[in-house]
């Protein structure tokens, strides 16, 4: 950002090469604009580890809670796959439970696992460390954010135990069916779901405000926006999206709760059930779809953008090369975020819309492919002629790129109205969104955990288990989702409890069984990963400081792993971007962000 505008960066009067004599460069360190943050120092076990105000601990709390509920989502998917693959052998599910599993699996994975893990988990842990802050700007609010999230999760779990069970309306919760008898969980299940979502939004807003303000207002000296790691850019933009998109979900939840409990008709048209006319009249189910997808589409990018950011950093560090086109990457993230607000109705092509709307939304949807493609090219160009270390984070990053391209290309199919209409509500859609916003971001989550685990615990994860985890997950994901594309093409509808001997399945016989076996194996591997995480916490190989030789601030704290307050007595000063790997002229292989130019006088370029 500050290449030409010198007043705003730390000035370097580097050695004048023409004069021949070397004078040590002088660095002008900007004054600290805000007084140093006063921190809450925990006095007891409870305030230190349970009701904790340290963003690092809150991040781990978020991550553990999200993982725990995510495991429930994983197990639900096993039930679904057993039913689909072997309906005669495993008949324990039944149609109602099947729908409930579908619904809860979707909702848990998208919101309670991925959103909470990326923003609550990685966001909390990494933002203060990477921008050079002592903590989030309002640690108390941050703590309340986690506890709201936990309550939301508990309410969600409670819905499994109420009469009628959890809602089975599909994760989109479309009215009128979501709150009418005949849909499983239409009694208490749907109410608890809506309450849980509302609590999640409230809790997230508290956390999200913290992330945004910490990034905007609490960076350390020298940390301009264009020197931030792309991880932070991804998390930042995703948080902004969440703060603007979750309100629509919140409003939709409130209105549907009122429809259900008070008998209002926001979303309910005049309707008969079991031959009986209900009291509802005049509401618009399409209104709910608009509200839901105004949230729902940005939600895709709330999950994807942090993944984009993190993977850029992983690729750069593990290929020992600077990110290709850093500014382009930043702008791509921001543009994708902005565009994501004007594409929502591509989820509603078959809901009945004015054809011109379909035209508009198809156009905006396809425009998103441009910044997204820029990012993919830049990742590939970052790898190009890089010193690629095939570490586990790098393997997962490579897996991400391939998977994301696959899922993205099927997105081009579904973004076009005429291609979407026949493919809508088939397994092609299931395969598409699992690839692009399920597997691809999860690849980054895994890579990021292998990458930052040493920072958090001071120990490495077991490498052998990690390699097994990667290969089984990567190959297994393709074994699961490639056949699903085919099933979609031959017209197998999604959300069907059982296909029986329908003509759809003529050339797809055996595919469902194959997918189920693959899904069970991949699912089991995730438990192996958890085992790895928990055992390595105590038994893992001790990691030296900064094991990946990364430049960003989180690896350069005085204490390793970082402690409360992050940076010891004085906050670091940043002189460069975090991607100074193999800088021409420098004898150092990498130059951390807080190394002043005077220590690397021969480095050719001071990057911003």
């Amino acid at each position: 950002m500050t290449d030409e505008y010198t007043d705003n960066k730390i000035e370097t009067k580097s050695a004048d090469s023409s004069s021949g004599s070397y004078s040590p460069p002088v660095e002008k360190i900007p004054a600290q604009e805000a007084p140093d943050q006063e921190l809450y120092h925990a006095k007891s076990f409870w305030t230190k580890w349970v009701f904790c105000q340290d963003a690092k601990v809150i991040g781990i709390q978020y991550a553990l809670t999200a993982t725990a509920i995510g495991m429930i989502g994983l197990i639900l998917s096993w039930g679904m796959r057993l039913q689909l693959g072997f309906p005669e052998t495993f008949s324990f599910l039944g149609p109602a439970t099947y729908y409930q599993s579908v619904t809860m699996h979707g909702m848990i994975m998208v919101i309670y696992l991925l959103t909470a893990l990326f923003l609550g988990g990685f966001g909390n842990y990494l933002i203060p460390l990477m921008v050079g802050a002592r903590d989030m700007v309002f640690p108390y609010v941050n703590m309340v954010s986690y506890w709201m999230f936990l309550v939301a999760v508990l309410v969600l779990i409670a819905s499994f135990f109420v009469p009628g069970g959890p809602t089975g309306a599909g994760w989109t919760l479309y009215p009128p069916q979501a709150i009418l008898p005949g849909t499983p969980g239409s009694e208490m299940g749907i109410v608890l779901m809506l309450v849980s979502l509302s609590l999640f939004v409230i809790g997230f807003t508290m956390g999200g405000l913290n992330y945004v303000i910490t990034i905007l207002q609490s960076r350390t000296r020298g940390m301009t926006l264009m020197r931030m790691p792309l991880t932070i850019w991804g998390i930042f933009t995703a948080t902004v999206l969440a703060l603007l998109a979750f309100p629509a979900l919140f409003v939709a939840c409130i209105m549907m709760t009122l429809d259900n409990l008070l008998g209002t008709s926001f979303f309910m048209p005049e309707i008969f059930t079991m031959g009986e006319k209900l009291d509802y009249a005049g509401g618009s189910p399409i209104l709910f779809q608009h509200l839901f997808w105004f949230f729902g589409h940005p939600e895709v990018y709330i999950v994807a953008l942090p993944a984009f950011g993190i993977v850029s950093d992983l690729i750069s560090v593990h290929a020992r090369k600077n990110v290709f086109g850093y500014r382009m990457m930043v702008w791509a993230i921001v543009i994708i975020g902005a565009l994501s607000f004007i594409v929502w109705a591509h989820h509603m092509y078959v809901s009945g819309m004015n054809p011109w709307f379909g035209f508009f939304f198809a156009t905006t949807t396809l425009i998103i492919a441009v910044p997204t493609a820029i990012k993919v090219y830049n990742w590939v160009l970052t790898l190009w002629r890089g010193n690629i270390h095939l570490t586990i984070p790098m393997l997962f990053s490579l897996g991400f790129i391939v998977t994301f391209v696959n899922g993205g290309i099927t997105g081009l199919f579904l973004g076009n109205v005429i291609i979407d209409v026949p493919l809508s509500d088939t397994y092609f859609v299931v395969a598409h969104f699992h690839m692009v916003m399920g597997i691809a971001p999860l690849m980054v989550v895994f890579g990021a955990i292998y990458h930052w685990y040493p920072l958090i615990t001071g120990r490495h994860l077991n490498q052998t288990l990690g390699k097994i985890h990667f290969w089984v997950t990567f190959v297994g994901a393709y074994a699961i989702y490639f056949p699903m594309h085919y099933l979609g093409f031959i017209g197998v509808p999604r959300r069907y409890f059982e296909m029986y001997d329908s003509p759809y399945m003529t050339s797809g016989v055996g595919l469902n069984q194959f997918i189920t076996v693959a899904a069970l194996i991949v699912g089991f591997t995730q438990f192996l990963f958890l085992y790895n995480i928990f055992t390595s916490w105590y038994k893992g190989e001790t990691s030296e400081r900064n094991p990946w030789k990364a430049n960003s601030l989180e690896w350069h704290t005085p204490d390793y792993p970082p402690t409360h307050g992050n940076f010891g007595k004085e906050l670091p000063v940043v002189y460069r971007w975090p991607y100074d790997f193999s800088v021409p002229g420098s004898d150092k292989e990498y130059i951390p962000q807080d190394v002043p130019p005077s220590q690397v006088p021969t480095a050719k370029a001071e990057q911003t």
């Binding site: 303000i213 609490s218 703060l243 979750f246």
Partner: protein, 235 residues
């Protein structure tokens, strides 16, 4: 802010980007809490926008006539039916409380403890009056006119649903504001912002800046009311 020269920024949007992306802070000289409140209000704006856009959709798509609002919200005083009388008073009270809030912020920055506290109290009482009148309006509609969230005698049933939901949601905002106004009035009178007394929950020191942040919230709630007023009562 001070340490670099605005004059030297490149002209146009480029200068804006340089300024925004500069060292440490995007909003120069803006305290964390204030920035946070602005972003929160932006998010809250989306909530109210969703409510009001939903209302517009309902009104645009209803096949049953929308209730004649000037009759529904009329008040009979001394035998004369005056449309929108109560709402006019409510709006006046709320806008006035915005004025007293602004004065409280001013005295806060002048560290005039007494006057700041009194004007905060006046604002709180204005807010309380507003909520009280809203309760009166609700009870009149519910018990006198028979308006319910699920039906009403005047026309489209979405009227009652949206009315109670949106004014209720706004009323909740006002009530939360009133609670905080009372708490902060007490804090000011006790001199918390002068002595650096620590907060009960956060155990952090606070400053008269907090009054301005509360003021932002209060002005926002008033501004939202103007829109609700326009959409429900005038349209």
């Amino acid at each position: 802010m001070s340490q670099f020269d605005i004059e030297k920024l490149p002209k146009g949007s480029k200068g804006f980007m340089y300024d925004w992306g500069s060292d440490q802070r995007a909003f120069k000289g803006v305290p964390w809490g204030k920035a946070m409140m602005w972003i929160f209000l932006l998010s809250d704006t989306f909530i109210f926008s969703c409510f009001l856009i939903s209302l517009m959709t309902a009104r645009a798509s209803t096949v049953v006539p929308w209730p004649p609002t000037s009759d529904v919200f009329a008040l009979t005083v001394f035998g004369v039916e005056l449309p929108l009388l109560l709402i006019a008073i409510m709006t006046f009270v709320l806008i006035t409380s915005s004025g007293t809030m602004a004065i409280a912020v001013k005295y806060g920055y002048e560290k005039n403890r007494k006057l700041c506290g009194w004007f905060l109290l006046a604002t709180a009482i204005g807010g309380l009056t507003f909520v009280g009148m809203q309760a009166f309006e609700w009870s009149k509609l519910i018990f006198h006119d028979g308006v319910r969230p699920w039906s009403n005698p005047f026309g489209a049933e979405q009227f009652g649903a949206f009315f109670f939901m949106v004014t209720g949601f706004h009323g909740t905002h006002v009530s939360i504001g009133v609670i905080f106004l009372f708490i902060f009035a007490r804090k000011v009178f006790r001199g918390d912002f002068d002595t650096g007394r620590r907060g009960y929950f956060t155990s952090m020191k606070s400053d008269y800046e907090a009054i301005e942040i509360l003021g932002l919230y209060w002005h926002f709630v008033d501004l939202v009311w103007v829109f609700i007023f326009a959409f429900f009562y005038l349209w």
